[in-house]
């Protein structure tokens, strides 16, 4: 049969068109996932290629490991605060972008800019912004009189040491991560808000609802499916992200003030050589995340009313 006639058959054409993406998923997602799972129940290290199944021992060891416990707590704080801030700020930005005003194109460009920059490069920029000696943030605060003088609101020291103090380091990491995630969340919410029929919002105005009542009784409930997707993306990106943490603090300040599960997995498996433990950390929360995804998607589907 000629190739041209073969391509006219729907199942053949469909298969061919899907082949590249399926190959990608199998090779770069499926295969590493299966390998991670196998490593996590084995004793494999970089130095010792012997592969022996040890059951759940790696996971049990992790639960007793203080570093893992600290990383777990940090990951939850990092994720919950980041996602919370992203949702609130994205809602504000989306509301702003719904309105017409002069210079809207510039505001839109500035909002989208973080998403266009490679994450590592953008984070390196923040490394300089938060430098312990030459931070422009600190310079600004000193110029405003909030830092560097006796009795100043933020202390007499000339620098805040953004990445050197445990609480402030976590806040810095969260700040950079929120900066990075905001454009995506804003665009998703903006698309959702544009899909709310204008007449429904006007009907609420005519019915007497003010801004906040319209927001909580009309806009947010109708945005629930879109918000659920935003939360899902944000949680997954945050939970599995190591770039911001690794570039800014490498999990410090010591002992593990900003260590998260993703960076701990890298530390243990690639830097420490313990592939099995690293894999166990990496996939520890897979069942939980899969459960969260299923729940959120079900909630999103149920809340679609139009």
């Amino acid at each position: 049969m000629k190739i041209k006639h073969l391509l006219e058959r729907e199942n053949v054409l469909a298969g061919l068109l899907l082949l590249p993406v399926v190959t990608y998923i199998v090779l770069f997602i499926g295969f590493p996932f299966v390998m991670s799972f196998l490593y996590s129940i084995s004793n494999v290290t970089i130095g010792n290629p012997e592969f022996k199944i040890v059951g759940m021992r790696n996971f049990v060891d992790l639960l007793e490991d203080n570093t893992f416990q600290q990383s777990l707590v940090n990951t939850f704080i990092f994720t919950s605060v980041s996602v919370g801030l992203v949702l609130i700020l994205a809602q504000v930005l989306a509301e702003l972008l719904m309105r017409e005003f002069k210079g809207k194109w510039l505001v839109r460009f500035l909002i989208m800019l973080p998403w266009t920059a490679p994450i590592a490069l953008g984070t390196i920029g923040f490394l300089w912004f938060m430098d312990s000696v030459f931070s422009p943030f600190d310079w600004l605060l000193r110029t405003m009189g909030l830092l560097g003088k006796p009795g100043a609101l933020l202390g007499a020291s000339s620098n805040l040491y953004w990445l050197g103090r445990p609480g402030l380091a976590m806040a810095s990491v969260i700040l950079v991560h929120v900066w990075r995630l905001l454009p995506l969340a804003t665009v998703i919410l903006l698309a959702g808000m544009n899909s709310i029929p204008k007449e429904i919002v006007e009907a609420a105005q005519v019915d007497g609802a003010g801004y906040f009542r319209r927001l909580f009784h009309i806009n947010l409930p109708l945005l629930l499916p879109v918000t659920a997707v935003t939360v899902l993306f944000s949680v997954f990106f945050t939970f599995t992200d190591m770039t911001v943490v690794w570039v800014l603090t490498k999990g410090g300040p010591p002992p593990h003030a900003t260590q998260v599960l993703a960076s701990l997995a890298f530390l243990k498996s690639i830097q420490g050589g313990d592939l099995a433990q690293g894999a166990a950390v990496a996939i520890f929360f897979f069942p939980v995340l899969a459960g969260i995804a299923a729940l959120v998607l079900r909630l999103a589907k149920k809340s679609v009313v139009t």
């Binding site: 029929p197 007449e199 429904i200 006007e202 009907a203 609420a204 105005q205 005519v206 019915d207 007497g208 609802a209 003010g210 009542r213 009784h217 009309i218 409930p221 109708l222 809340s303 009313v305 139009t306």
Partner: protein, 333 residues
Amino acid sequence: MASVEFKGLKKYFQDVHAVDGVDIEIKDGEFLVLLGPSGSGKTTLMRLCAGLEKPTEGEIIIDNNVVNDLPPRERGIAMVFQSYALYPHKTVFKNIAFPLIVERLDKREIRKKVEWASGLLGIGHLLDRLPSQISGGEKQRVAIARALVRKPKVLLMDEPLSNLDAKVRNSARVELKKFQKEIGVTTCYVTHDQAEAMGLGDRIAVMHEGRVRQIGIPEEIYHEPADMFVAGFVGVPPMNFIDHDGVVMGFRPEAFLPAELMNDEELMKFRITVERAENLGSYKLVYGAIGEARVIANLSPRYLIRDGEDYDFAVRARDVRYFDKKSGKRIKK
């Protein structure tokens, strides 16, 4: 209930003069219809009244108060949108109750009023349903119930029947008129459907290009149009126009009959070449030409007319209207 007045009202969207100097008074309890084609400014005028648009110039007066700077909720108005704009995530009960929840009434009071409004519209059995679970006609009733539940001073309706199928629309129109008379609320109703306007309005304001061309009772609008636009827009089929002695002569299709059917009143006779006759069941439309002018006659279906033949038709002199050829305005002759 309250009166509504628009004084010198204008609304410009940059170069577009959506409303271009409108002066209308709607009396207390009156049902006024704003009739016009798309883009005539009738919906913009209604939105100005509702407070959803700010006027460029002029005043909006509701119940003797200038409301230009008041938000919608402080004007005492309620509105039924063309798409009904029901809240899709709320039940019918909560849709109707929403304006009362905003007013912070207690739950018992809210229930009482919702039951009153839903009873009035015959939708008491639908209160637990979502909008996606009810029909178009039921949605329309829910929208009206939501508008009436807080007893507004003025009810605004933006083509609420346009999304209904033709059969339901006719019965809905009758019910709406009856209902408005019972409640007695001052109503401003927007439509492009002239049959709807004629059937519903106590008075009709015909709008075109942002201005009111004529305002009057339906009979006046139909039989005594102020200009060629009103004459041509109101009436299906529209009025016939023929150039005659430097003016434009207009007469309704139902007044244009075969000469042999007219008695010896003062008649104007024409020789018409019939192009096509359409038998529409209860009436017949005859399309023809008088010289270069195209005309339509509306006859009984029993009268036999053959395509391509010439016939003598006539119209009573008292049924003829004259219009200025340049301005289109009606002239008394």
